[in-house]
């Protein structure tokens, strides 16, 4: 059992790294949102794994919160992405730089 737990943690770390790298290297907003989801789910996996290792229900409970927040975030984020795409088709995240100082 212990070995399998370690494997889960390694997997979630890998997923997190892939998501983070994708977020940094890709410029398509849609893909970036997907990468963020990947990172969030990597974290969820970690929570569940630790919950199992420590024999605590808390880890699984937190996952629900994260899922709710992620859903909300996707609603807002996708809304923005769609609005931008309508106005300027093919826009990348670097084109949206109105908040530059």
């Amino acid at each position: 059992m212990g070995n399998i737990d370690g494997a889960y943690l390694v997997l979630s770390a890998l997923l997190f790294a892939i998501g983070g790298a994708g977020l940094l290297v890709r410029r398509n907003p849609l893909v970036q949102i997907m990468c963020i989801e990947l990172m969030l789910n990597a974290v969820n996996l970690t929570f569940v794994t630790f919950g199992r290792m420590l024999n605590s229900i808390t880890g699984q409970v937190v996952v629900f919160f994260v899922l709710v927040v992620a859903a909300a975030e996707v609603v807002v984020g996708l809304g923005i992405v769609v609005a931008v795409a309508r106005r300027r088709p093919g826009a990348t995240s670097d084109d949206i730089s109105l908040l530059r100082g």
Partner: protein, 679 residues
């Protein structure tokens, strides 16, 4: 009955409000009568309050109207403090002011801004009463600035002429120099004692450290110097004569200029706790002012300027009294001075009125035949100020001199010599105005017979008068050469050879007669006979904490001093008669240029402010610009510069932010891990 005290300043203020709203519609003379009625009502209230105050315990009553400035520990109320000192002041202020209001109805007859004049007069009376009755330093300061503002309005009342406007400005600015001291004194009082209410801080004053007390009293004395025209800030008062004559009588002789003396008397406990050198300085400033101004008064040709210098001189006596600890004697002289100097000024106003705006004594003479009431009252008041017994000035001045002798014989000697000069120069004014032969026909003949074609044009003749007066007023300062080259008075087109002066209407003569009567009997307030010290006994509790001087002289000494004063006064009058009435001596030799120009103090100040002073002020201005403004601007510049550099970080590129967040998280986790691993 004492609860009515708030009505004292409120009634003139109601008058102000009514005159602002309806003054123009009421016109002349109704607006004048309204103002006079308000002032008279205020006087009646003062009498009623006085009767009530006699029954009060310790003759003191404090009325708080409302809380004015409550800020943490700092609390200032609008309230009135009624004690023997403020009561005495309020009585003579409202009384003299009512008479002068009445007089002004006649004097200002025909002026296009008649209602405005009375508006200012009422406003002045209200401010003066706030000054005197205010129960804390700040409220007194409100009145102090109020009377200053009214003085400015009224000096420049005929602002159509430039020199009147600049005389007003000069008075206001010179006063501001002194006000700085008043404000610093108020701040220092709060820092030292935590309160500025008279009833709270004056009893604490004897416990002050001598240095603190000296600082507070010294600063307030600077304020008093400005307001009461002492050396070196007396230069504004002679120019203030540009205002209408009732203003000179009310503000620049009887009431406002005595505010400084009042302030010094009010803070007598602080003065008592000071180092001994401060009262000594006050006494010397006072007596030297008296001497310098008396010399200056000897050389004046303008009847009002002579009276102005005489006022400065008498104020000097009051400061001498304060300096030697004879506070009540200062108040005594203030009251008698208000009577006879108001009478003298109103008399001069009557003369000017009767002579059609002529103010130069070289053109007068023989007027007692044309204006007998004015002449009679003027001469009575002259004898009073000269110190001829048994008139009021004799008693009050002699009290001051007796205290001065006890404190320091040198002060007494200077004061006595000044008394001689006073008797001389006031008699000179009276003689040159009312005795001898009329002199204006000769001048009119000389002016017409000169054959100068330009003199026929009224514009040319009229223009010369303002030009000449402008040079004299407001620091224009003609040189000695000017004076020597122009011994003749400026031309006055009103006075022809067959001109006949007229006596003034009853509104003007009644106040003259009343004031002359008061000048005669004013001494009854306090006679140096046991059981007759009414004023001294009445005022005594106010000054109990101020370390007042006690006169230690026996009856015989007092009688001897009275004899000396009498002899000096009579000698002065006789000298004036010898020189000016019988003309046994060329009077011109007693009018050298330094006297005419008041020892060049005005010029010295002008030169200083325009020369080395200006450099200093420029230095201060540069410090303000470079040091203070520079510090503020540099802080701003620093912020802008730093943010210009930091702003670069906010690129607007989402991925840069993500990278920074990632790097930051890694650094944070790395730091936490190192901490965990170390322990």
């Amino acid at each position: 009955m004492v609860e009515l005290v708030w009505l004292l300043p409120a009634l003139p203020l109601v008058g102000v409000a009514l005159l602002v709203l309806f003054g123009r519609r009421m016109g002349e003379p109704a607006s004048g009568w309204l103002a006079t009625a308000m002032c008279t009502a205020s006087f009646v209230v003062a009498l009623v309050v006085f009767v009530g105050l006699v029954d009060q315990p310790e003759h003191t009553f404090e009325q708080v109207l409302w809380e004015w400035i409550p800020v943490g520990d700092f609390r200032v109320d609008v309230g009135f403090l009624l004690d023997p000192l403020s009561m005495a002041m309020a009585l003579f202020i409202t009384g003299v002011a009512a008479l002068i209001h009445l007089y002004s109805i006649g004097y200002m007859h025909g002026d296009p801004r008649f209602p405005t004049f009375f508006l200012y007069l009422n406003l002045f009376v209200a401010s003066m009463l706030v000054l005197v009755l205010g129960d804390n330093l700040l409220l007194t300061f409100v009145g102090w600035e109020g009377v200053g503002a009214c003085s400015y309005f009224l000096i420049s009342f005929w602002f159509e002429r430039d020199e009147n406007a600049s005389a007003g400005k000069k008075a206001f600015i010179t006063n501001r120099v002194g006000d700085w001291g008043f404000m610093v004194g108020t701040f220092a009082t709060y820092f030292a004692l935590g309160t500025i209410s008279y009833t709270e801080f004056l009893p604490l004053a004897p416990g002050l450290a001598a240095t603190t007390a000296t600082f507070i009293a010294g600063m307030l004395f600077i304020g008093a110097i400005g307001k009461s025209a002492q050396i070196p800030l007396f230069i504004w008062l002679p120019d203030a004569m540009a205002g209408p004559t009732p203003v000179s009588a009310l503000i620049h002789a009887a009431t406002m200029v005595t505010a400084g003396v009042y302030l010094m008397c009010r803070i007598s406990p602080v003065l008592g706790a000071s180092y001994d050198w401060l009262p000594e300085v006050i006494a010397w400033v006072g007596v030297l002012t008296a001497l310098v101004a008396a010399f200056a008064a000897m050389g004046q040709m303008d009847i009002k300027k002579a009276l102005a210098y005489s006022t400065i001189s008498q104020l000097g006596y009051m400061f001498l009294a304060v300096g030697v600890g004879a506070y009540w004697a200062a108040i005594f002289h203030m009251i008698t001075h208000a009577f006879f100097k108001a009478c003298l000024f109103l008399g001069s106003g009557s003369v000017i009125h009767g002579m059609h705006e002529e103010q130069d004594m070289r053109r007068m003479g023989g007027l007692r035949r044309f204006m007998p009431i004015t002449a009679g009252t003027f001469i009575v008041a002259t004898l009073a100020i000269a110190g001829v017994p048994p008139l009021s000035g004799f008693w009050s001045k002699d009290e001051i001199l007796a205290y001065a002798l006890q404190a320091n014989p040198a002060l007494y000697a200077v004061g006595l010599f000044t008394a001689l000069l006073t008797a001389y120069y006031m008699s000179r004014v009276a003689i040159r105005t009312f005795y001898g032969e009329p002199r204006w026909p000769a001048f009119a003949a000389a002016g017409a017979g000169g054959g100068e074609p330009g003199a026929v044009e009224p514009e040319a003749a009229g223009l010369r008068v303002p030009a000449q007066a402008a040079a004299g007023a407001a620091g224009g300062l003609p040189t000695d050469a000017d004076i020597a080259a122009d011994p003749e008075p400026p031309h006055n087109e009103h006075l022809s050879a067959d001109f006949v002066p007229h006596e003034s209407p009853w509104t003007m003569t009644v106040p003259l007669v009343v004031l002359a009567g008061l000048s005669v009997v004013g001494g009854l307030l306090n006679l140096p006979i046991s059981g007759m010290h009414f004023l001294e006994d009445w005022l005594e509790p106010v000054f109990a904490l101020g370390d007042p001087a006690e006169l230690g002289y026996s009856g015989a000494t007092i009688v001897a001093l009275l004899g000396v004063s009498t002899a000096v006064a009579l000698a002065g009058v006789a000298l004036a008669a010898y020189v000016w009435l019988w003309e046994r001596f060329d009077g011109r030799r007693l009018e050298p240029a330094p006297f005419v120009r008041a020892w060049y103090v005005d010029r010295l100040i002008t030169d200083f402010v325009g020369g080395p002073g200006e450099k200093g002020f420029e230095g201060i201005e540069a410090f303000d610009r470079v040091g203070i403004d520079g510090a503020v601007n540099d802080v701003g510049r620093l912020t802008r510069g730093a943010s210009a550099r930091i702003r670069v970080l906010q690129s607007g590129f989402l991925r840069t932010y993500a990278l920074l967040i990632g790097v930051g998280s890694i650094l944070l986790i790395a730091y936490v891990l190192t901490q965990v691993l170390v322990y």
